[in-house]
Symmetry: C2
Subunit: 107 residues, 2 copies
């Protein structure tokens, strides 16, 4: 096997693509937000649950989710009185686990 998937080369990415990608990385490039994603990788959860799990205020969690949602990393849906947040797609997790493995490689 050569390449898992064939992507357009980085060198030919448009300025807009570079920008969007940078914003995506930036959104997930923060320990508190990454922790939220780790929680969500186990299944969707509402804001209060996440707040409780992180020992943070609901407001703080809501703002972190806002940043993630702005880059389409997570999606939300109402369930009765609660709003459930979930990972936008499985690829996000793969992306992070990939980076996790590489970050580990270099200590």
């Amino acid at each position: 096997m050569k390449q898992p998937h064939s992507h357009p080369p980085l060198s030919s990415a448009s300025p807009a693509s570079i920008d969007r990608t940078a914003r995506l990385f930036r959104a997930i490039g923060d320990p508190p937000r990454l922790r939220l994603l780790a929680l969500l990788s186990q299944g969707e959860a509402c804001v209060s649950q996440l707040a409780q799990a992180e020992h943070e205020s609901i407001s703080t969690i809501s703002q972190r989710l806002r940043v993630l949602r702005a880059e389409n990393v997570v999606v939300r849906s109402r369930h009765g009185k609660h709003i459930h947040y979930a990972l936008a797609d499985r690829h996000i997790v793969e992306l992070i686990e990939n980076a996790l493995a590489h970050a580990a490689e270099r200590q």
Copy 2:
């Protein structure tokens, strides 16, 4: 096919891993730095070349490379009077191209 590679699950990542990974994402989560990586994906280059390509001062480029080097995204080596920078490994490019594809997917 199920999984391209099998990684340890995100949910079981240690705080230290989360931190390192966040720092990695943060380092590449900036358009100017991402552009440098795009240039380097075509082959190594010295600081002056990168500065010229980006229409920036050598000092500015040097600082951007410093951030990338701190997270082991790039490596440097001296070649005569010049210091060549190169991507630390091919995986970085894959990681970015992956993100690029996903960022494109969601507009």
